[in-house]
Symmetry: C2
Subunit: 159 residues, 2 copies
DNA sequence: GGCAGATAGTTTAAGCATAAACTTTCTCGA
DNA sequence: TCGAGAAAGTTTATGCTTAAACTATCTGCC
């Protein structure tokens, strides 16, 4: 299902949205793999954890990464095996465990983050600031629209 | 990495693009699963094949779905096992095989397509036509930008 | 205190996706 | 004509992802 022309605007829009996102994701994935031999989910996990110096629970990490908890189990296992994160049982709840960046994990993230930022900026380099802002705005509207479709009610919007 | 506020516009834009697309994809995936017990890749394959009455090669299908050929092998195997597609060796090239919809596959796609269309339209229901067109336009620009980033040159643009 | 139900996380089964190595077949030029 | 290299698919290894079933622990209420 590639960009057609006879379909409804919404269909073409969806295909273009999906196509653009996938193209960018593929490019970023390739850069991460080539330069740092890592993946988007691993980078995302480190990014989330970098904002929580005291760590967070597996459940919190799964919420922020917007994936299921079962997913996090394996991801954190692999990151821990590579020494990038540390886990300990939560002091107040023996069901829960707190995961946080190790020193090495923080160092690695600090090294990768500016490159990632640059790669993202490069992808949008041919767009003017006005175009970037217009796109940002319209994507906000799209997000609202999806929320309304899902819940029947819009959600509080910061941006 | 959820929508921040202190980051560069490009970063926030990327996160919002990824988040919006993923939210829509999750919604469509859930609908397809619930109503038709199928998946996006399977639906996409049927959609591509529905436009080629005489079928196409595995390689052509992989190009149109924008995934690797190795991926297609398994996907077509599963669709064939369910009787939705048929494969035969290409008459002029014994390396290649032609895959096309079976009668059942065509019937199934014809049944699903209008629902899929409706679900997509529902997701964008809270946006005006002007907004939809503005978003479509800006995504076209984004796609150009990614192409330029990748190849150094823009690509012919229909829409 | 103790039990019912909720919550945190893990496991399992299945599918999607990639890259890289591989097999088979084809093509083209010397 | 035949051989080198290209092209079509497949296989393999690895990782991401989900939904659903499961274990262990906690919480609140009687």
């Amino acid at each position: 299902m590639t960009d057609g022309e006879s379909d409804a605007l919404q269909i073409r829009l969806w295909l273009r949205l999906l196509g653009s996102t996938n193209a960018m994701e593929a490019s970023l994935r390739a850069s991460l793999q080539e330069r740092f031999a890592t993946t988007m989910p691993r980078f995302d996990a480190l990014a989330q954890l970098s904002r929580a110096p005291d760590g967070m629970t597996m459940g919190q990490l799964s919420e922020r990464m917007m994936v299921t908890k079962g997913n996090i189990t394996g991801l954190v296992e692999r990151l821990a095996a590579d020494g990038l994160v540390e886990r300990r049982v939560a002091p107040d709840d023996r069901r829960a465990s707190i995961v946080r960046l190790s020193g090495e994990g923080r160092r690695r993230f600090t090294e990768m983050a500016p490159h990632m930022r640059q790669w993202i900026e490069d992808l949008f380099a041919a767009m003017s600031r006005d175009e970037l802002e217009a796109l940002y705005q319209m994507l906000g509207r799209a997000r609202q629209s999806v929320q309304i479709a899902k819940t029947g009610q819009p959600v509080f919007e910061e941006g």
